[in-house]
Symmetry: C2
Subunit: 652 residues, 2 copies
């Protein structure tokens, strides 16, 4: 247990974390017949349990959960008919932004619709996923987490329900930053043209996206005019005023010829004074995605509990009974490498003497290692907001006009949302660098919308685009330097964001040579080959386990994801009786299939086996999902001991 | 020469096709000092040469070229300063829709900016590509052809020019159907927020998209209000009224705080009476994308020539001197298979007894084989317009509500524009069928925006999604039946649209078995394995050539693009000393790499070589591009005679 854990333990006292158990929630729900007072009480109780879930999980979106809690509570308890029950004419509700899931989970638990024990299992395998998932969680209407899809999904639901002769409203929540996504506007017109008046969009207009003001990232302009111009009925209310929400929905019930949108002015982090909006006084919001510090957590619990108890007292009711859960123990890496920060630092160093370098970002500046660049070279930092298609095409326009654009987002979004745009740029043969972070299976907490396991496949065939995943801070620096200084064409840089203690080091003489890898650990019985810090670390640990059992495994790093030098393949693998490829990616079209093909083409006769993900990725702790998908050290070691070449029916 | 060619020859007389040579154009350009009369004359001369180019090419977009000809002519000759010259403060012009390229080419040729000989080489290798390409054509500012990217590109150009201290306007043309693309709206706000007043968008509002009214496909609603709500200055004019265009640009020059849009009301096919709008009296526009009949061509030439000569006569000038080019000779297939029509027919048959089947389309009904479905089952036909992201997410909403959506577009757009949306649907594990047409290298005329050579790679890793390309009408029917009746999960069906005479037939006992192929032609020296009518036909022809040289080549059809049964691989390929895989796709992550990997994993020791595309696809006739990329019969045969296994430096 580290020093921080120790002081946390003292701070929390013996009780650890607190949650409101079902019995106490039921007292609160019965405390008054006034629906407005009741909803306010229930919303704060849900906030307490949302905080608990996020502390347990170690991550989750507090700000967005809290800004939407009042709306969700009112809708589910007072407005919607039998929501998401599956009954023929029930109303449907879902969140298009999806990262407010903890608020909805907390409410569904409070209403007895989800097992109470799930409160303890946010972002754990078999628990509640970081973003909504229809497959694992009752009362979830659709999978979200990538932004902008909600109105289109609602359109499909409405058309299907009309075909089946079913009624019922479809109410969906969007973020305000989410309105930067083009698909929102693409979907508004068809819904209006079909006069799908059963669709009601609620915009949780909390004015902050990730950690900055929406207006600073990409101002939304005249938001009500925009919706009206697209043919929607518009109402705007205080999203924490239950009566105003009620009145808006009463108005919507009178409009039968068009879809409706409620612009709900809300406060990010609503309900805890120091988490509300930019309460800290600076320009950065501090409670977007991570768990708060224990100190902040305890202060928030105190504030929410005190307010709730005062209200209960005024109603002549007993105070909340809080139960306690243990403080989660997390093993932090001792001396972790942070590849993305090293990358960003090296990029900035080069940019100082290369005025052609410009950086583009899609609202993920801190996750892409480019905060220092933004600070030091603001004129060459272009914040595009949540608008990946626009960003990538804009980069194309810049490259045609003499700049070297370096384009940033999460791998899951950059490689797929802007997929055609990356190709279009490639046909112009100008040089662009795409930097894709949060790649691979972990962190496992956000779930499948954020686990990028298809990006090698999605962009690997773009002509002239070379894809690389570095395995260490040093290789991260070499890779961006190679992309800027040596590669005449475009590069896709893929990064794992999870900080890891690395058991290996690159040889001091190592330089990057296209298509050629490097042996990190010698061995004779089997070669483990792959890329990136996650696979190389687990390969190394597997090699340790195998060594204890008398099997000598080599670990070989091949950072080139879609370029393989067949001469190197011959030279490296001919001496091994067996080769196991490791993909932090789907096995179907990852690096492994290319290595296996290269072995075949080069006439190398080793037995080969390719490991990687084969199904929708599971949500859970990092250790859980690695084991679940057979990519932890133990699973890798197990495969190396079995016969490799038994033919399988289908390549999944 | 077929019967049609013969009667065409009679109709055309000895002269063949007509064009206006440079000398005559120069007379026209000097005929008057009145800029408005001059522009009208030049525009009609350009229309004559545009028609010639499209007749020579056998395809090209007349309607959209003609609706924009007046605008483009005025802009380039009277409004813009030194457009696209590369000079520091020159104005920039490009078309975001791109398929009006013949109009611009025709003008650039008339202005002497392009070699006059290129007039004879539209859509030919080394000539003028079907959609704009910066690499091959001077005075082209950016590559377009996929819709919606133009305003983002202009944003990037403007930001780059400002950074370099350069001035100059950026004028771009969009279609009106193009406004259905979400990226248009995604890009409007950043341009307004940055006050990029040098950007002027011109909407060629001809009211027709592909072959239907925009209002019937997906009505645009209050188009001026929309742009204003996004912060743009808006003017609306008759797009064939040069004075009004001039006045609008004069107004724009006074607006310095925001970008501008000119809504230009135009007539599709403007300039030839019977090609204008829905002049035919039905609801279908007949001159969108193909070459007209020779009869229509001659009538159009007569009308344009007569009007121009009357005007010249009033100015006291001599009439046009027309030169003649030969009628192109095209060898039509004798008894071609049309896979997409067979597919559509089989889908409709099943839909009659399966009410859960609904069809979604993105403005490509006739190219996707679903006209009969639309006609017979209109309530279950959902036209989404040019809105692929919306369409795919809408299909997700439908699948969650009990329907079986069958989603249609061109492969190049469906697999890449909606790439993340297909994945998001996959995570919901509901069954959806994606039908992607116009796949592969041919037709070679439209160029790289339409040649889908990345779709196996782009969607091949989507969990649970099985990709298939049928090789004949019979296999097309089997494939959609398998997708509907047998596959419990989702399917991606890939189709070549070019009608082909097939030299092979599937065995009468053939049924589709996942991951397993079928031998179309026996052989002993080398196995040619691939998929689809194009590769199988060329493999067959290569086998004929090889047979004449004493090499016995087998031809093996494997329609499964991302599923390979390794037992079948062992059973099929063990007896061959050499295996050559054929991809109508990039070689990097196509079927070939999976077959080669399967050979390695299954321990089959054949020499292997994978053929496929390795660079940005060339534009040209089908025969030209197949030869250029080494996928015609002669190239395949050549590879089979060479040693296969020489290691190569990098896998491109």
């Amino acid at each position: 247990m580290g020093e921080k854990d120790h002081s946390d333990k003292q701070l929390a006292g013996d009780g650890g974390l607190s949650f409101v158990p079902l019995a106490s929630i039921e007292v609160v729900r019965g405390a008054t017949d006034d629906p407005i007072v009741r909803a306010g009480l229930l919303a704060d109780v849900c906030r307490l349990n949302t905080l608990y879930m996020i502390m347990q999980a170690g991550s989750g979106h507090i700000g967005s959960s809290f800004s939407s809690t009042d709306l969700v509570t009112w809708l589910w308890t007072e407005e919607l008919a039998d929501p998401n029950s599956g009954a023929a004419n029930a109303d449907t509700y879902f969140s298009s932004k999806g990262h407010d899931a903890p608020a909805l989970y907390s409410l569904l638990i409070a209403l007895g619709k989800l097992d109470f024990d799930l409160l303890h299992r946010l972002r754990r395998l078999g628990g509640l996923p970081g973003h909504p998932d229809v497959d694992t969680t009752p009362f979830i209407a659709t999978n979200t987490g990538s932004l902008g899809m909600g109105i289109s999904k609602a359109y499909g639901m409405a058309r299907a329900r009309r075909l089946a002769g079913r009624t019922g409203r479809i109410v969906l929540m969007t973020g305000d930053g989410e309105l930067q996504e083009g698909q929102i506007w693409e979907s508004l017109q068809p819904v209006a043209n079909e006069r799908l008046s059963e669709i009601i969009a609620v915009v949780d207009h909390n004015k902050l996206q990730s950690d900055s003001a929406v207006s600073a990232v990409s101002d939304l302009g005249r938001i009500e005019d925009k919706f009206r111009a697209f043919g929607w009925d518009v109402r705007r209310v205080d999203g924490h005023d239950f009566r105003a929400i009620h009145d808006a929905f009463s108005h919507f019930a009178t409009v039968a010829d068009r879809p409706k949108v409620l612009i709900a002015d809300t406060i990010k982090g609503k309900g805890v004074s120091f988490m509300e909006g930019l309460a800290g006084g600076d320009e950065t919001y501090h409670f977007h995605a991570g768990a708060p510090s224990l100190k902040d957590y305890l202060a928030a619990v105190a504030e929410l509990t005190s307010r709730t108890n005062e209200r209960l007292s005024r109603l002549g009711q007993p105070p909340l009974t809080l139960a306690s859960g243990p403080l989660p123990v997390r093993i932090a890496p001792v001396n972790p490498e942070r590849l993305v920060l090293a990358y960003g630092d090296e990029l900035l160093r080069m940019a100082r003497s290369r005025p052609e370098i410009v950086v583009l970002d899609a609202d993920l500046v801190s996750d892409c290692g480019i905060e220092a660049f933004k600070e030091e070279l603001p004129d060459r930092f272009i914040e595009c907001g949540i608008a990946e298609q626009h960003m990538v095409s804009a980069a194309g326009g810049m490259a045609l006009n003499g700049l070297l654009p370096v384009v940033h987002s999460f791998a899951c979004f950059l490689s797929t949302r802007a997929n055609e745009h990356i190709y279009n740029n490639a046909t112009e043969r100008r040089k662009i660098i795409y930097t894709a972070t949060l790649a691979g299976l972990v962190p496992g907490g956000p779930g499948h919308s954020h686990q990028s396991l298809r990006d090698i496949s999605a962009i690997g065939s773009v002509p002239g685009l070379t894809a690389i995943e570095p395995c260490s801070e040093r290789e991260a620096r070499l890779a961006i330097r190679w992309a800027v200084e040596e590669n005449p064409a475009s590069t896709y840089l893929r990064f794992v964001n999870v900080p890891l203690d690395l058991p290996y080091a690159l040889p001091s003489s190592y330089t990057m040579q296209i298509g050629r890898g490097v042996t990190l650990r010698e061995g004779t019985d089997v070669a483990l080959v792959g890329y990136g810090p996650l696979m190389m670390t687990n390969a190394w640990r597997a090699a340790n386990q195998l060594a204890a059992q008398g099997v000598s495994a080599a670990v070989i790093n091949l950072p080139w994801l879609n370029r393989i030098d067949e001469a190197w393949v011959v030279q490296t693998f001919t001496r091994f009786p067996a080769v196991v490829t490791l993909d932090n990616h789907y096995v179907t079209l990852g690096q492994g299939v290319m290595i296996a093909a290269a072995l075949s083409r080069a006439g190398v006769r080793a037995e080969t086996r390719s490991l990687g993900v084969t199904d929708v990725p599971a949500c859970g702790s990092n250790a859980e999902v690695l084991a679940h998908h057979g990519l932890d050290a133990a699973s890798i070691a197990r495969v190396c001991k079995a016969p490799l070449s038994a033919p399988r029916t289908t390549l999944a």
